[in-house]
Symmetry: C2
Subunit: 694 residues, 2 copies
């Protein structure tokens, strides 16, 4: 038996043995994302690039879960784990199917370039909906759960997750190929790095370097960032973002030639190149710019991941995952369930859930009402069912449903040659004819997305401001002016102000996945919503710090200075019941929270813990999330919820970037929202607190 | 009371009275398709342009019926009438709603620019799916039924239909603005004009002039064509196609200036200008190029139509058609019913209808399987439900449905960066996993459509040839090679050869409207199909006459010379039963056909009459359709069907264009197909015949 096939050896040993059989050209060939076959060694081609952000993406039919930002809104590690586990199982099933046919194309391998754990620090960022929101702790916890679900606990990894984009990467999209993101030591350690540390320490197999520079260094070739990975004990593979190494010589001015870019990245520790720069590695080698040892080291890292995935084993425990699991009923039911956990009820004057028999006609209005795109987000697979909001409401309601598109998503006129706003009069008439209006507005990935994505009408995928496009602003105004009972449903992946104060209820539906319309209908007709905002919703962008400024001052709930600009706070979300935290205790690293459902409806809720350092001069301006637990609680029920705190809960970061406990006085808050005036007012429940002396 | 409001007067008198109150500027202003308001006379603005080809189009929610070519495939005047009646009712309901809000925009009036009755003489024509196929008689009969359904028989017209595009207009799309369609007198009278005559004589309110020239004259300003209208007694309004008058000076070289174009069209009898040329009428008048009398005459014609629509009556019988009729359940059920009557079963080795319980898994594969665009065609409204083929089959089948997109509609690779054909291996695996494959291929309006339509990747909307795009040709080959029981479903509006000989069954589904997937499922699981091809399906385009040649020689079943190139004949379509015509008699203008359902299934069928002149040297090469009747016939049932023949059945046309009876010997054929070898072989039923001596 070849040594590299000996499963009693470590992955490192097997990878070393395998690489030892390769010529230098063969080693170099394994470092391109399209790794070549080495037929004489029986190694098939392998394309490193696959995606699984909220369902296996881009290579055919798969279960489509709600977009990442919606997954985060569940505030639920268990859900995140289960979703990732399904993605991983479908990834294996597809891999088994594709590889049986010798199809080794892109999006067909086992190395998923998910999750995207960048911090959604600025509400304009077009890719924010790919993330878990604005909080480092929440992002880290949910990211770890996702990674564990993807990778599994088998003898081999079921699939490999990848933490991206490392690091300090969150727009502007239009600048990403030449931008130098500047963040001081305090901001780095407080916000931009801790969740990467959490994922690495939890064993994430891959880390992807970002496009931008970080404090002058290319993110894919940074002594600082690579040093951190080493410090955290990273032993997976490091891959560049697609064509990020090309940016070194084309845009960043870090190098002059493609060979220099290859050499720089390889030397600093980038193992796999997504792009075409490492196709020049052998030239760089021949010119003496890299050593064989450096190539070998990267090849061992790359093959180590493939060993861990069982790609050189004669059989694995996952070989029999059948085709039939892909988008099976059970998986789609999970997608529906998660969509329901993710939707955030922002306002409700009591109209929801809809009283049975009260409404004979519903008018479903708006450009996102019957839009499949509004379900999808980006980085998506092909679902085998799409239940739009209109579909879902029509199926669930037994009266007459009227539908009006109302307006284009962002263009002024809908039909060619028509006057601007040609669908408004139908929308108004529809509202007039209806006992209840469901107004479905928002965005889709055409309006918030990634630089270079097709079809993006706006600037590089970022938003200009936090308002709906004008076509929809007018629609909202006109429909609300009709004065019918109205529920506004927002499909977006980011903070939007729809100026719907007059609406009776507002639901933030995100991009809820292929079952989204069924989820909305289940909620509107009775099931209590329980999603929480994983990011602050602001009133307006005016006065917000510069998009290019990576200091966190004035951004996100932790560092916010102008609370007047908060429309809905981080952590906020209503249910149909009233759940209160009535007491909190703390001992030995564990908080015990007494929780009571004093309302009339069974519901899920999210118990949230926030901590405030009362003394340290290094403490952030506001409290920070340090624990959360989704619970299911019946009407009238009382529970005690135990939540363990990370040691890091008590840390502060000084200006040198040192994390440490600097205080003996803390206040721990427990509630179903943040412990601030607006949150408590909106959620209708006070937080409780306990002082902790260390 | 103003005289023009006196309903005891004729429309002509009222229009004259109304126009008599106008200044010349006001008269001229009424001849633009965007007719201005005349506030001092209390006349609101009116936009002449609306569309209702297969459902009210382009101005919001409406019931979406199968595309026109599919309506034709029903071979059923009753269906055509009922569909048009619903379109008309919804048009009025929308008009009532829009006008109550003062919304007088395009697509919101009562003058529908439908039907499109051009002859689909060349299978490449991109707009062929807007028509009723290749046969003049069938087109005329169905067109008349459509017009009657639109216009109604009320005191005022419910809506106005418009016969377009007059005349000799059927591609190439890329040439339409400067092309001179040449047709000799015999071809004109035999093929290009008789159905326009039928519609005019049936009272169609509008006629639209085509873009092209006809034998040198602009179609919108042709002595010959206008003379024919007069001869037929046309007293409605004549409108130019959009910007067709602009073509006079810009492309046709008929005039030198826009004023000359205005003058030419007005003098020849074009009343309303769709476009902007008549905005220059007053300049032409001031220059002495037109007279006030000519302007007055056109204004009277235009206002006469508006009078007939009741637009100057204080109230009409249609004012209370409510908003709630729009896309109501009854209308959508009609759409479903019509879709089922329209689908054509081209091949069936007995696999259909699917045996109950035999199949545990179905693999639904192909780019049109879950495509809404494949339901729609062009000139469409917004449906409030879309049941794709996948949706319909999933809802109806109680086993597991697998779905694979299979390929892009026409691009080689589906996902960015992927290799060409990146979805084929999934399609193959899906077929392998399935007990039965439903392969949904074809086109959509992006691939066959109108010149200038957005998104058209091919040449101006026309097809290059009669094959599927290469991406789908490969898909068909790969999926059929798996060898599973396979039903091929074709969504297209024209003759396509999918090279699916190996398939067990083939269904031509057309663009079946928003309920199309439910119709397909109903058929596949039991209801007998009964649609018939309203056009010849050819094997290949090679050897076909030039697209630019408007002589009918060698084209369509009547004039076909090379029957070897016929894939499926005009009039052909299978049912699940076996219906035979067993005898035919003829007396006093009426054919009596004895029909028997000798099969085991209740079904609808279309009894078809064809006539052949046995003597005249002017007779067309082949027999011609001269009667048809859709019937419902139970298994084992025998019926006698009476079909009256038009006098024109016996006509021939000589080279001078004279239509007359030139023979005393005819053979009348009756069957469920054409009386030719291939048709009888494919349909499995012989035609019967009777000789007629005049």
């Amino acid at each position: 038996m070849k040594k590299y096939k000996d499963t009693s050896l470590s992955a490192q040993e097997r990878a070393e043995a395998l690489v030892a059989e390769m010529t230098i050209e063969e080693k170099a060939s394994q470092l391109n994302y399209k790794a070549a076959a080495i037929e004489r060694l029986g190694i098939p081609a392998y394309n490193w690039w696959n995606e699984g952000l909220h369902g296996l993406a881009r290579a055919g039919t798969a279960t489509m879960f709600p977009q990442a930002i919606a997954l985060a809104a569940t505030f639920d590690e268990k859900t995140m784990f289960e979703v990732a586990e399904i993605i991983s199982i479908e990834t294996r099933a597809k891999y088994n199917m594709y590889s049986a046919q010798g199809d080794r194309d892109i999006y067909k391998g086992l190395t998923l370039w998910s999750p995207n754990i960048n911090i959604f620090r600025d509400p304009r960022w077009g890719r924010g909906h790919e993330t878990y929101g604005e909080d480092t702790f929440l992002t880290g916890r949910l990211g770890v759960a996702f990674v564990k679900g993807i990778q599994g606990e088998g003898k081999v990894m079921r699939a490999a997750a990848c933490a991206k984009h490392y690091a300090v990467h969150s727009g502007p999209e239009g600048l990403r190929h030449h931008f130098d993101a500047k963040a001081d030591a305090k901001n780095l350690e407080e916000t931009h790095l801790p969740h990467f540390e959490m994922l690495v320490k939890a064993g994430v197999e891959g880390v992807m370097g970002a496009y931008n520079r970080v404090n002058g260094e290319g993110a894919c070739a940074s002594d600082f960032l690579m040093g951190k990975l080493k410090e955290w004990g990273f032993d997976g593979y490091f891959v560049s973002d697609y064509k990020a190494l090309e940016d070194f010589h084309l845009h960043h001015g870090l190098t002059k030639t493609v060979e220099e870019s290859a050499a720089l990245a390889l030397k600093k520790g980038c193992h796999v190149c997504a792009g075409y720069v490492y196709e020049h590695l052998m030239t760089a080698y021949e010119k003496g710019m890299v050593t064989e040892e450096e190539i070998t080291r990267a090849a061992v890292a790359a093959m180590r991941t493939r060993v861990r995935l069982g790609l050189f084993d004669d059989e694995t425990e996952f070989d029999n995952i059948p085709f039939s699991v892909i988008s099976c009923e059970e998986h789609n039911q999970k997608s529906l369930e998660v969509a329901k956990k993710s939707m955030v009820l922002l306002k409700n004057n009591g109209i929801l859930p809809l009283a049975k028999g009260k409404y004979k006609t519903i008018g479903v209005i708006g450009p996102n009402a019957d839009s499949r795109d509004a379900l999808i987000g980006n980085y998506f697979g092909t679902a085998d069912r799409y239940i739009t909001f209109l579909d879902g409401l029509t199926a669930k309601f037994d009266g007459r449903v009227y539908y009006s598109l109302g307006s284009h998503l962002f263009k002024q006129g809908y039909s060619g040659l028509a006057m601007p706003g040609d669908r408004y009069s139908e929308a108004v008439a529809t509202a007039e004819q209806s006992d209840l209006v469901v107004l479905c507005v928002g965005l889709d990935a055409m309006l918030e997305g990634e630089e270079g994505d097709a079809g993006n009408e706006f600037d590089s995928g970022d938003k200009y401001d936090l308002r709906l496009p004008e076509s929809q602003r007018i629609l909202v105004e006109k429909v609300l002016a009709v004065g019918k009972p109205t529920v506004v449903v927002i499909a977006s992946g980011s903070s939007l102000n729809t100026y719907s104060d007059k609406a009776d209820a507002i639901i933030q539906a995100w991009y809820p996945g292929s079952m989204g319309g069924a989820a909305l209908a289940d909620i509107m007709f009775g099931e209590s919503p329980s999603g929480k905002l994983p990011l602050t919703f602001y009133k307006e962008i005016e006065g917000f710090p510069s998009f290019e400024d990576y200091s966190m001052a004035g951004k996100t709930y932790r560092f916010l200075e102008n609370s007047d600009n908060v429309l809905y706070p981080f952590g906020f979300g209503l249910t149909y019941s009233k759940v209160e935290c009535t007491a909190v205790e703390y001992a030995d690293g564990v908080a015990k929270v007494a929780v009571a459902n004093v309302g009339k409806v069974d519901t899920e809720e999210v118990v949230q813990l926030y901590i405030k350092d009362n003394k340290s001069k290094h403490a952030a301006k506001n409290h920070k999330l340090c624990g959360f637990q989704r619970i299911s609680i019946k009407a009238g029920e009382k529970l005690t919820v135990e939540i363990a705190l990370d040691g890091s809960a008590f840390d502060v970061v000084d200006d040198s970037g040192k994390r440490f406990v600097d205080s003996d006085s803390f206040t721990l808050f427990a509630g179903v929202s943040q412990p601030d005036e607006l949150s408590e007012k909106l959620s209708g429940a006070k937080c409780v607190k306990v002082d902790i002396t260390k």
